[in-house]
């Protein structure tokens, strides 16, 4: 056993001995603090298991047959408390693994979407390709970032504007509720930042002014947006997502959306260029 674990063994044995004398929450709290200290000292769960069973074996060797069951139950309660800190750590590893898998999936989706958006034939097709492009981007955005709703809007020139809405769901696309359109019309994108958490919404004066009571927007939880910007800096439009499927929108979500918005901006400019050229030729 490494020196750190040896020192821990003595502490564990002493604390367990005290717990057997006083079976109360103070002693269980001490067990929990021991587990926490084991995590901070970077002991493994195997080290903890070895320590625990060594202490239990020593304890059982000095108890009578009649006390063995009590000793084993006390050891079980004590061990459960010390392990709970490791449970927190283990759940953190699981979350990190899931996040990494999610990021790999996002990278793959972005690669495919990039290929599609940079395809010149998309830009050269009939008028209305920009609206189709926005629809595709909105659908992909909800899938990429696991959001319930997306709004994508862009100016098409000559004062015309395209706005598309999309909603995701386990059963496939579903209808977009009216509050999504209201949120975009009345509320727009947060000027102070592109992400609005549940906490931010609760404090946003414009949210309260727009929706009044919770009944008007019962399902609006959080939002993230990215602007569509031309190469010369002209604002073309935006892509906005509402309600992350789980939790709040993260920095990574925002970065992915910004990347998607940049690809979309380039595709829109390309489409506009070919449309202008086609119009010039036809004159």
């Amino acid at each position: 056993m490494p020196p750190t674990a040896n020192a821990f063994l003595a502490e564990y044995a002493a604390a367990f001995g005290r717990y057997r004398l006083e079976r109360n929450e103070t002693m269980l709290h001490e067990a929990y603090e021991l587990g926490r200290a084991a995590v901070e000292r970077e002991l493994s769960v195997l080290d903890l298991a070895v320590v625990h069973h060594d202490v239990l074996a020593t304890t059982l060797a000095t108890t009578t047959a009649g006390q063995a069951e009590e000793a084993a139950r006390a050891a079980s309660d004590f061990f459960l408390e010390t392990l709970s800190a490791f449970e927190m750590v283990q759940r953190g590893f699981r979350e990190t693994r899931e996040a990494a898998a999610g990021e790999r999936r996002q990278a793959e989706l972005l690669r495919r979407l990039s290929g599609f958006l940079s395809d010149a034939s998309l830009a050269v097709s009939a008028h209305g390709s920009e609206r189709e492009l926005l629809q595709l981007v909105a659908e992909q955005a909800t899938e990429l970032i696991d959001a319930e709703y997306c709004v994508a809007a862009a100016s098409l020139g000559d004062g015309e504007r395209a706005v598309v809405f999309t909603a995701s769901g386990e059963a496939g696309p579903r209808e977009v509720p009216s509050w999504v359109a209201a949120a975009v019309d009345k509320w727009g994108i947060r000027p102070a930042g592109m992400r609005a958490s549940s906490n931010d919404l609760r404090r946003d004066r414009r949210f309260a002014e727009t929706f009044g009571s919770a009944d008007d927007a019962p399902s609006l939880r959080n939002a993230v947006a990215a602007r569509l910007v031309a190469l010369d800096g002209t604002e073309l439009g935006f892509v906005q997502l509402f309600n992350r499927a789980q939790g709040e929108f993260t920095e990574v979500d925002e970065a992915v959306l910004v990347h998607l918005a940049q690809m979309t901006s380039a595709a829109l400019e390309r489409a506009r260029f070919y449309r202008t050229r086609a119009d010039d030729v036809s004159r």
Binding site: E25, H29, Y32, E40, L80, S84, M88, R91, N199
Partner: protein, 148 residues
């Protein structure tokens, strides 16, 4: 069962009654030993935050009974300086949690629902809930129990 339990938190020793009440309520609500331990752990971590970062606050425990599930709501409230960046605080490695997965991020992972409401200069309220599904037999017994 709609009693609320409030425990003032000012020093390390106050974590013990908060844990004890949380564990006792979890057991009354029929949570397993494992879940009762995790609830006590979550209370420890969140109350420790009050002691370390603020100095004074409270833990409030509330049972919630619905038809298909029951739960324990744990609220940790203080009137400290608030959390400037809640998102960062929920990330491993922020402040004193050294990236080990303990503290606020660790606590969040133990519970089914977790929410922080914090404003600089106005304190913090953490609200978290753990749920247990109630099976058909339990719901039937509940309906047959005389009311009052």
């Amino acid at each position: 069962m709609d009693d609320e339990i409030r425990i003032t938190i000012e020093r390390d020793h106050d974590l013990v009654p908060a844990r004890a009440e949380g564990r006792a309520l979890a057991e009354r609500l029929g949570f397993t030993r494992t879940d009762a331990t995790l609830i006590a752990t979550a209370i420890s971590e969140i109350a420790r935050n009050i002691v370390v970062h603020v100095g004074r606050g409270a833990i409030v425990l509330r049972p919630v009974l619905e038809d298909e599930r029951c739960g324990i709501v744990v609220i940790a409230e203080d009137e400290g300086r608030g959390i400037r960046d809640v998102e960062a605080a929920l990330r491993d490695g922020y402040a004193s949690n050294k990236g080990l997965g303990l503290g606020l991020p660790g606590t969040r992972r133990l519970m089914d629902e977790f929410d922080i409401d914090s404003e600089e200069g106005k304190g913090t309220t953490v609200r978290m809930t753990k749920w247990r599904l109630r099976d058909e037999l339990e719901r039937l017994r509940e309906r047959r129990r005389p009311s009052g």
